[in-house]
């Protein structure tokens, strides 16, 4: 690569931009280990004089009025089981839509597909009323089940299943393998890349979701971490070290996932057009 003034400028610009982009997240991490008196300073203490884990320890002591760890487990449970159930339901439907012949198949698929253009917030009030009628308000069902109805997984997996050659299944069919066996033993194992991509985005979406947990629960014990964060912010708005420690807790799982599956995520965005 030839060296030139233009390239130097490019690197300079990119690095400055990267520092600016990274700064808010880095500052959250630093603030979470700053003691109270180092937070309210005219000059930011990027390198803490007395780094402390006190903010994180404090979190556990406030379990009565702000059960942060309970929110953490709620989020983990909702995102985890939600992802597994979403993969199972979407892949079953996608298998039927891509491989099995039945009357009304194309109409149904078109119906499912067309709902992709409906913003989720348009239906949030009827969804809330339905959850109440089912007596699911303040339960894990309310936090998990509405998210399983999204059409995106069915759409993505159907596209992927269509690329799998049919010969393998026909051989299996002749060998006496049933449709369920083909789905479970042939289609799913061959679809690992697509399933992994969908799982990552589904988990991130479930972990970060804000609107549904906001309206589907009101008991403090049933909140998820993002909604809990805003309650926390309302209660301890002046203890920003504490607030930042909670935010770090809400960030760590997605940060770990991002670092582990970075390539997968980046490829997934491009393939699916999902932005995460």
């Amino acid at each position: 690569m030839r060296f030139s003034f233009a390239r130097l400028l490019l690197y300079l610009l990119m690095t400055i931009t990267a520092v600016v982009f990274l700064m808010p997240v880095a500052w959250m991490l630093v603030m979470s280990i700053l003691p109270e008196h180092e937070i309210f300073q005219p000059v930011p203490h990027w390198v803490p004089q007395e780094p402390t884990l006190q903010n994180f320890q404090e979190l556990f002591k406030r379990a009565e009025e702000a059960p942060v760890m309970r929110w953490f487990w709620n989020s983990l449970f909702v995102a985890g089981t939600g992802t597994l159930a979403y993969l199972l339901l979407s892949s079953m439907a996608a298998y039927a839509f891509s491989r099995l012949e039945f009357p009304g198949r194309n109409v149904l698929f078109f119906l499912v597909l067309s709902t992709l253009i409906i913003p989720g917030q348009v239906t949030i009030i009827p969804v809330f009323l339905i959850l109440q009628k089912l007596h699911w308000f303040n339960t894990y069902y309310a936090l998990i089940v509405p998210g399983l109805a999204g059409a995106f997984g069915v759409f993505l997996l159907r596209q992927f299943f269509l690329t799998i050659p049919r010969e393998m299944e026909e051989a299996a069919l002749i060998d006496g393998c049933g449709r369920a066996g083909i789905y479970w033993r042939i289609i799913l194992p061959l679809s690992k890349p697509a399933l992994a991509t969908l799982a990552i985005f589904s988990f991130l979406g479930g972990w970060n979701d804000f609107m549904l947990p906001l309206i589907a629960t009101n008991e403090i014990e049933m909140r998820t971490l993002p909604v809990g964060l805003t309650i926390f912010l309302g209660r301890y708005s002046m203890q920003y070290g504490l607030v930042m420690a909670t935010a770090v807790l809400a960030t760590l799982p997605v940060l770990v996932m991002f670092l582990l599956f970075q390539r997968h995520i980046i490829r997934g965005v491009v393939l699916t057009g999902l932005k995460g």
Partner: protein, 305 residues
């Protein structure tokens, strides 16, 4: 083989097919299809959650919306937010993608840094930026002040009240949202750029085209599908903006960040006027749909010139 199948086999296959879609379909009907239809039905009623009676009122809720000043403000604010985020946000994404496409060292590190904010929850983003925007202790005002002194600008730096003034609150939410989302479109633009054959640029260079000329006549036209996609997606996303103002400003100061979805949320879940809130939701839906169709038409028409 399929054509030869016996009627009994075909019936069996259909049965298996229905069994496979049944679990998903039940949830799809219950949480997507019914809500879409029922939401419109609710919007035609005076539907107070606690009310015994939920009388049918026809389009009265929609007519009331036309005269509702707050709804007008919410619409304008949402449009303002879209104006502040859609084009500027996509310019940022495109610039980042162009930088990454210049075959730089450490490309993956830069890419990861620019994409990182996208995986954060709106609640985390809001909490971080609430502190960034603090008038007294925020990083932004601090570094602006440092910059001011470095450049020897006249007078003293006046701290910007970011979220606390009606003039700057919405632009602040927009700036934060651009930071949050720029990485997503960046990846799509980068993939688009990588798909442009290098020979096109070679040929243009031989013909003596300038950098700008190559960008204007090769990159932009060939990037049209990505541009169309990202612009529509960010327009749809920005018209649904909610969490940012719900968490950071509650719609204030002086209604300056009251958005359509926040207004829907407040009428529905604070005032319990579900019929009216559904009417708000449906107006938003129609606008989003209209924008999507209009933009598709505009961009395809420009491409045919």
């Amino acid at each position: 083989m399929k054509r030869m199948a016996l009627p009994a086999q075909r019936r069996h296959e259909a049965l298996v097919g229905y069994l496979f879609i049944a679990p998903y379909l039940v949830l799809f009907v219950a949480f997507v299809l019914v809500p879409v239809v029922w939401g419109f039905f609710i919007s035609l009623h005076n539907w107070h959650v606690l009310g015994e009676q939920k009388p049918f009122v026809g389009f009265a809720n929609y007519r009331a919306l036309l005269r509702d000043d707050l709804f007008g403000i919410a619409l304008l604010n949402t449009g303002y937010f879209a104006l502040l985020t859609v084009i500027p946000g996509n310019v940022v994404s495109l610039l980042l993608a162009l930088g990454l496409n210049a075959r730089i060292r450490g490309e993956n590190v830069y890419k990861a840094i620019f994409y990182l904010p996208v995986v954060l929850s709106v609640a985390v983003v809001a909490i971080i930026w609430r502190w960034m925007y603090s008038t007294e202790f925020g990083l932004l005002n601090h570094y602006l002040k440092v910059l001011w002194q470095l450049l020897h600008l006249p007078g003293d730096f006046q701290p910007i009240p970011w979220l606390n003034s009606p003039q700057s609150a919405m632009p602040s939410l927009a700036l934060m949202s651009i930071w949050w989302g720029a990485g997503g479109s960046m990846l799509i633009y980068l993939a688009g750029l990588r798909g442009i054959p290098e020979e096109y640029y070679e040929a243009a260079r031989i013909d003596g085209a300038s950098t700008w000329g190559r960008f204007r006549h090769i990159t932009l036209p060939l990037l049209k599908p990505s541009l169309l996609f990202c612009l529509v997606m960010s327009l749809i996303g920005s018209s649904q903006v909610f969490g940012q103002s719900y968490i950071l400003t509650g719609g204030g100061p002086h209604y300056s960040t009251l958005t359509v979805v926040l207004y829907m949320y407040q009428t529905g879940f604070s005032l319990y006027r579900m019929g009216y809130a559904c009417a708000v939701a449906y107006v938003m839906f129609v606008i989003v749909l209209g924008f999507t169709l209009l933009q598709f038409r505009l961009l395809s028409a420009r491409g045919e010139e």
